[in-house]
């Protein structure tokens, strides 16, 4: 096969494979954040959920031998963290942004605290589907080695879009996000709707974390997550609070994050640390590009317009 000799092809395949591989946790975190923000609240603590999810998934997978139980444990930890955020934020005097930062520090500390004994042992990984079996080119083979959670994430996006658009509870969540006054006038409990959205959103973010520790990079360490949870907040803005667009945006961010390792695989090593910053620079660039001087963004839930 000629293509295997061409480093440009290798780079392209590595970036596309990376977009799927690195982008998967972004799908879960951004969908979780999207749901939470649709209800009119911002949860900046999802970075903590991600790390906590990664740790609990790894620990449970190691102790029970079942990675799927690990994913379940991650979801549980995410529910608890989401519930804490939602309950404390109910009071108007508690700032949701500041509390998000606090939750991030707390959950990260907690994950490192309990995760210390699990840094060495290796836990069973989540199974993946090898879609590249037809090819005898190893680069393509490894790029098409796709984890089952990826398919879950891809299915989740249209499901959430449908839920928000066409179901009664979904519409209520949106009402709480568009106008708390309108929701109150309809006799809906804004706090309960936001509680539900934050808990489910937190669980999704933690499942994204379980992907980090149980598939790619595939081990638990303290440097596992590096801001994916926070980038997801910017990603949701970029995706205009649309779950389907969150999916596309996740691929874009995944490929940006895969650029550094992909370049390294074809022998470009000089700017490794600079390319590592690519997803952050991309996020910042997108935030600036999609901004305007008045702060009105299409799709912004009404409760954020001050």
């Amino acid at each position: 096969m000629d293509a295997s000799d061409n480093s440009l092809w290798v780079l392209l395949v590595a970036v596309i494979g990376g977009a799927i591989r690195v982008g998967t946790p972004f799908i879960f975190v951004s969908l979780g954040e999207c749901l939470t923000e649709k209800s009119g609240r911002i949860n900046l603590g999802l970075e903590g959920n991600l790390i906590m999810g990664a740790m609990s998934a790894y620990a449970v997978s190691y102790l029970t031998g079942s990675p799927w139980l690990g994913v379940l444990a991650a979801a549980g930890s995410g529910c608890i963290l989401g519930a804490v955020h939602a309950l404390l934020c109910q009071h108007p005097k508690v700032n949701d942004i500041a509390l998000g930062i606090a939750m991030m520090l707390f959950a990260t500390g907690l994950a490192f605290f309990f995760g210390k004994p699990f840094i060495q042992p290796s836990a069973p990984h989540l199974p993946s589907v090898s879609l590249g079996a037809w090819s005898d080119w190893p680069v393509l083979k490894s790029a098409l080695d796709i984890n089952l959670l990826f398919f879950v994430g891809v299915a989740l996006a249209p499901f959430i879009a449908w839920f928000l658009k066409s179901t009664r509870p979904g519409n209520r969540v949106r009402i709480a996000g568009e106008s708390a006054d309108a929701a109150l006038a309809m006799g809906l409990s804004v706090n309960r709707l936001r509680f539900f959205s934050t808990v489910v959103g937190g669980a999704m973010a933690s499942v994204g974390g379980s992907y980090l520790s149980l598939f790619y990079p595939g081990s638990w360490s303290e440097g596992l997550s590096s801001g994916q949870g926070l980038m997801a907040v910017a990603l949701v803005i970029f995706a205009r609070w649309d779950p389907i667009k969150c999916l596309y945006a996740s691929f874009l961010f995944g490929s940006a994050a895969a650029l550094g390792p992909a370049l390294q695989s074809v022998g470009v090593t000089s700017g490794y640390y600079l390319f590592n910053a690519a997803p952050y620079v991309l996020t910042l660039a997108i935030m600036i590009a999609t901004s305007n001087s008045t702060g009105t963004i299409k799709g912004l839930p009404g409760e954020f317009v001050k």
Partner: protein, 347 residues
């Protein structure tokens, strides 16, 4: 104006509640809370040795806190202290290296100014993006943290690497003569006075100057500030610049008093701990001093907790997280207790 008695009582109560939650947490981990709290005290404030350790760690926190505190006065939540710290430290180190041979005071002053300028501009960019383009300042400042660390790593393993530093790639040394010295026989360096003067100076600025009052007006009610004709953007950018400059000076101190060169250990989390100090101090620059010492103490005691109780080093992170959450929740109780409110003066 905040009611001082109410602030202190509620903050103190919040610290006690945090301690209680921590005690429950420790019990759940089969540790004796009494023993751990004793070790925390001994490690932080139990001896002159631990006091020195605590004060050395409190110094950068006194400065990085302002990176969140100053923008908060105009209503911005900035968490970019880590980035400003790294940029300030890196640029100060470069200044120190290139000015070698000059008088140590000249070198240190140049390093101080470079650190302040670069850190200030770093956060000024965050403020400008928000003021002119409505880019969320919390997220952009956090992204800039990661970008700053990436630039630092790129430079210290690349063009700025001193070949002699193999295991821990670093820049060249700023030279022993140019290091900021310790005070007398102690291990506390003179940088603590930079921190203390920032706290006192910015207290004067925030509480006693017209500029500080203008900042409060902008933070309290942007519309009102615009209506009375305040130069809104200039005030916002200035407060961001001052905040970033403080964090930059903290980075410079880390280089000039501790490391002697710039390397990846600049990103040690002082910027993040500073956020907590700022929220604990509830935007009062003088209150930064005791809370920076408290947080410095908790960090200083981390080693003792590890040795005596076999607790992981992340324990201090858990403690800080608990305090942070409880303090934010304690906002609920302000104005709730009639006996704590100051009585309106009858003219």
């Amino acid at each position: 104006m905040q009611n001082l008695r109410e602030t202190w009582l509620i903050s103190l109560a919040a610290l006690f509640v945090s301690a209680a939650i921590l005690a429950v947490f420790l019990l759940a981990c089969k540790q004796s809370p009494v023993d751990v709290f004793t070790s925390l005290y001994v490690g932080a404030f139990g001896s002159w040795f631990s006091w020195q350790n605590t004060l050395v760690r409190a110094t950068p926190l006194m400065l990085t806190a302002f990176c969140t505190l100053m923008p908060a006065r105009v209503g911005y939540i900035v968490i970019g202290g880590e980035g400003a710290f790294v940029v300030g430290g890196l640029m100060a180190a470069l200044t120190g290296i290139s000015l070698q041979g000059l008088n140590a005071y000249v070198v240190l002053t140049a390093m101080l100014l470079t650190g302040a300028l670069c850190g200030g501009l770093w956060i000024l960019a965050v403020g400008a993006l928000r003021a002119f383009r409505q880019v969320n300042e919390t997220i952009s400042s956090l992204l800039l943290n990661y970008i700053a660390i990436a630039i630092l790593n790129f430079l210290v393993v690349g063009i700025l690497k001193d070949p002699a530093t193999l295991n821990n790639p670093s820049t060249a040394s700023i030279g022993d003569d140019n290091m900021l010295t310790s005070i007398g026989e102690t291990s506390i360096h003179w940088g603590i006075f930079y921190g203390l003067s920032a706290c006192v100076g910015l207290f004067v600025l925030c509480r006693l100057s017209t500029l500080g009052f203008a900042m409060d007006v902008v933070g309290g009610n942007t519309r009102a500030a615009r209506l009375v004709g305040l130069p809104l953007n200039r005030i916002i950018l200035l407060s961001c610049f001052i905040g970033g400059a403080c964090a930059g000076v903290a980075g410079m101190l880390e280089v000039a008093a501790i490391q002697g060169r710039a390397n990846s250990s600049l990103a040690a989390g002082y910027g993040y701990a500073g956020i907590l100090v700022a929220f604990l101090a509830r935007q009062n620059p003088l209150a930064v001093i005791p809370y920076a010492i408290l947080l410095g103490g908790i960090q200083a005691a981390g080693g003792l907790l590890q040795r005596n109780h076999d607790l992981p080093d992340a324990t201090t992170g858990v403690i800080q997280g608990i305090i942070f959450m409880v303090i934010l929740t304690s906002e609920i109780f302000y104005g709730r207790f009639a006996w704590l409110q100051s009585k309106p003066r009858v003219a």
